[in-house]
């Protein structure tokens, strides 16, 4: 082949590659998008994911289909996205656990900061601290004072050792310098019933699990982890407002794509998610389940998660939540 021909061929090939990727980004999305949820249907993450598909579909112009890949405490879903094609059609909707907690307590085949790329963070999913209605303390300070008395033991029922609920409470007890007997339960629901039954004193859980007993008058909230107040209990102060600074900030949900996805596609997704977070309908629906949908850019979000992850690594080691 003559040199000219080779040159033309090379230019042509480069052109197709370049145009190809741009075109791909340009026409993205051209088919349905799969949103992978790491848990089985019905949980709070699944619910949040389903709620978010509505505005996303509006702003992306394509159907967003939920795929539940449960197992391994969220690891399997994460792995599914990690191994997917980086074409922007498989997106992970992640809860905090698999990203900032799981790698410290289990052998997982992914690095949450290297194998998947964060697109954006969404929202704040607060955690509330719940006690029985007739407990002799109404907020953290009173609780602190009460359990410092000799012979009194703070029994805390969690949603499982190593869950975010548990770790957040651990952070608090360290900030309060208060000893706590941790009684783990398999899900947050059991923690709540055990509080109602008097078998443990407090529990930390998602607002939606607590809403019924609180509205009903059988239980009360002592505090909220996060920056916003809970709509159905607006007088309950946040942990920070009550004077305890912890690294325990809001929990969140976040969107991730596989490593290698082109920046153009990521930008499109980011834009859609941002618009979704500002969508008034979406905000109203989320508020009903006591979430806010604050948008966090990938940069801010990654910084936040890295910080949280570091704190948790610390705690995990201290609490003896070992790997294997």
């Amino acid at each position: 082949m003559s040199i000219t021909l080779k040159l033309l061929l090379t230019i042509f090939l480069l052109w197709t590659v370049f145009v190809g990727s741009v075109l791909a980004a340009d026409t993205y999305p051209s088919k349905n998008i799969t949103l992978v949820v790491q848990w089985a249907g019905g949980g709070s993450t699944d619910l949040a994911a389903r709620e978010s598909t509505v505005p996303l579909q509006k702003y992306l112009g394509r159907a967003v289909v939920i795929k539940n890949v449960a197992g391994g405490s969220g690891a399997l879903g994460t792995v599914e996205v990690m191994r997917a094609k980086p074409d922007g059609y498989t997106v992970l909707f992640s809860s905090p656990g698999p990203i900032i907690v799981l790698p410290h307590v289990a052998e997982v085949p992914y690095d949450p900061f290297k194998d998947i790329v964060n697109v954006a963070g969404l929202g704040a999913a607060p955690i509330v601290i719940l006690a029985k209605k007739d407990a002799p303390y109404n907020n953290l300070k009173e609780m602190d004072a009460y359990f410092r008395q000799p012979g009194k033991e703070l029994r805390y029922g969690s949603a499982g050792a190593g869950t975010v609920n548990h770790l957040w409470m651990v952070m608090l007890s360290r900030a309060m310098k208060l000893r706590m007997t941790h009684v783990p339960f398999p899900h947050s629901g059991e923690g709540v019933t055990n509080v109602l039954g008097g078998h443990v004193d407090v529990t930390s859980t998602e607002p939606i699990t607590a809403i019924a007993p609180v509205k009903e008058g059988r239980a009360k909230l002592l505090a909220v982890f996060g920056s916003d107040h809970i709509p159905y209990a607006p007088n309950v102060q946040t942990v920070k407002e009550q004077g305890y600074t912890t690294a325990a900030q809001d929990l969140w949900h976040a969107f991730y794509v596989p490593k290698g996805t082109s920046q153009a596609i990521i930008d499109k997704l980011t834009e859609a998610i941002k618009k979704a977070s500002e969508d008034p309908e979406f905000k109203t629906i989320a508020a009903k389940t006591d979430r806010s949908v604050k948008f966090m850019s990938a940069k801010d979000f990654t910084a936040l998660t890295k910080a949280q992850s570091a704190v948790i690594a610390d705690i995990a080691k201290a609490e003896g939540l070992g790997k294997k």
Binding site: G42, G43, V183, P186, N194, K324
Partner: protein, 505 residues
């Protein structure tokens, strides 16, 4: 409004065409899902979830509840026909149900399951309507020590599940408990026996194990024994012969009623659901039966009782949801989210606060049970006719079914490996006459048992005395002691209590 007004109101609302339609769709879908082993109510609900978001709350609840107990009706079908348990709640039905099918009484077994489910389901609906608040308060008194002792009692029924020696039955239960320890422990956060595989972090999938131990092993037994008992052909159109005869029906009425009561109360305990109810019912029926040795060879009580119990248990499991607003399973969690999003809050006062919702849902649950009976009874003939498929094709079909079901449970390829291994183990167990039902019980109870034990020990700072210091737990310990000591004493004085295999001379 008082109950009578409530029921009338509810019935009126429940009979509205649209509500009826959703109820029917729910139970139909539930039955179909229930027949397919492996999916169960969770999967069934998730598939239909998108539909429910736009619907009126009451109608959505009606449909979801329909799917939920519909699956309990369908689950017994594969257990009886092919010895493949569709869900954990259907394992017990395999024991006598499949034996009845082998004797040519598959239609009778299926019909008894359907009728029993209806009777118990109806009883449970009334229980739900009137007893729910009181039950909820009682259930709150159950803390970890109570759960532990109760689960231990449940485990002791393992002895009654088969006709082999107590030691064999219990050893299988222990193995089941051991399999249950695989995975990341909720209590300690440690991973146990996972060997680095992420699929094992949440433990071994019980459906895969059940399908292997029961379904695959049964198929292999059929294929690989030189002598097979001939599957008796079902009469095709002779309704009188397909449906239960007088004796079978007579023997089943008591178990159905008892199953309904037991099932409802056991199911109302937070965390248990239908499976445990069926085990308890089976053990009870065997204990009080005049012919306990028939259990395991096709006793109708062994089908009617447990099937009634698991249906009542499913309804009972709605008690903690509706009265405390605390969901214990994915199914109830979905229902809870739906309710909350629409502004209806579960509480013991739900009856007073949102009477329209409550009574409509309750009434349509009753109607749903009727629909299920009407749906399933004619199908009995159809299902039974399936057994006429020549065995050489049937076995392959069952395997395909099993594999599909296992994969449908979790979409995990690893589970297919589990099924294969469980199948191999199941075959060995059959050859050694080691019963599989206690193993299933061990797997079901394992997590409950261990979690409760650990939680109790944490609360008591390591002292096992907590189990006798608390009144309810102490009662259970007492019962346990009686249950264990009585057979021991009887044996010491010469009387055999546990039937052994008939000696042939």
């Amino acid at each position: 409004m008082d109950p009578v007004q409530g029921i009338l109101f509810g019935l009126g609302r429940a009979m509205e065409p649209q509500t009826l339609l959703f109820c029917f769709l729910g139970v139909l879908w539930g039955t179909l899902i229930g027949v397919l082993p492996g999916i169960g109510p969770t999967g069934g609900l998730t598939i239909l979830l998108p539909l429910t978001s736009g619907m009126d709350l009451t109608q959505a609840m009606v449909m979801m509840a329909g799917i939920y107990y519909g699956t309990m009706y369908g689950g017994s079908t594969t257990s009886i026909l092919a010895a493949v348990p569709g869900e954990t709640a259907s394992v017990i039905t395999v024991l006598d149900g499949h034996q009845m099918a082998m004797k040519g009484r598959a239609g009778a077994a299926l019909a008894l399951a359907a009728i029993g489910s209806f009777v118990a389901g109806t009883m449970a609906v009334f229980g739900l309507a009137f007893l729910a608040p009181a039950l909820a308060s009682l259930a709150l008194d159950f803390g970890p020590p109570e759960y532990f002792t109760l689960a231990l009692l449940g485990l002791s029924t393992a002895a009654l599940l088969s006709n082999v020696s107590l030691a064999k039955g219990l050893s299988m239960a222990v193995i089941g408990l051991m399999v249950g320890t695989v995975g990341m422990s909720v209590i300690t956060g440690y991973q146990r026996y996972t060997f680095g595989r992420i699929e094992l972090i949440s433990g071994v999938e019980i459906i895969a194990v059940l399908m292997g131990l029961f379904g695959v092993a049964e198929v292999i037994e059929t294929v690989a024994m030189t002598f097979r008992p001939e599957l008796r052909r079902e009469p095709l159109f002779d309704l009188r012969r397909i449906f239960p005869n007088r004796e079978e029906t007579g023997r089943s009425i008591g178990p159905m009623l008892r199953g309904g009561v037991i099932g409802f109360f056991v199911g109302a305990l937070p965390g248990s659901g239908g499976a445990l109810s069926s085990y308890v019912s089976y053990a009870l029926e065997k204990k009080i039966s005049k012919h306990p040795e028939q259990f395991g060879t096709g006793a109708p009580e062994g089908v009617a009782g447990p099937e009634a119990a698991n249906n009542a248990g499913a309804t009972g499991a709605l008690v903690p949801l509706l009265t405390l607003g605390v969901p214990y399973s994915v199914v109830t969690a979905i229902m809870l989210s739906a309710m909350v999003v629409h502004g209806v809050f579960p509480s013991p006062l739900l009856m007073q606060r949102s009477p329209e919702f409550f009574w409509t849902v309750v009434s349509s649950m009753y109607i749903g049970n009727v629909m299920l009976l009407v749906l399933n009874l004619p199908l009995v003939g159809v299902w039974a006719a399936l057994l006429r498929v020549p065995q050489r094709w049937l076995v392959g079909l069952i395997l395909v079914f099993c594999v599909t079901g296992v994969y449908a449970a979790n979409f995990s390829r690893f589970d297919l490996l589990v099924v294969t291994i469980a199948g191999g183990i199941g075959v060995l167990m059959k050859r050694a006459q080691l019963p599989a039902a206690p193993l299933a019980l061990g797997m079901i109870l394992g997590p409950i048992l261990e979690n409760a034990l650990m939680q109790s020990l944490i609360l008591s700072h390591g002292s096992p005395l907590i189990f006798v210091k608390r009144p309810i737990a102490a009662v259970f310990v007492g019962l346990l002691g009686v249950a264990l000591l009585v057979p021991l004493l009887q044996r010491l004085f010469g009387r055999r209590v546990v039937p052994t295999t008939e000696e042939e001379m």
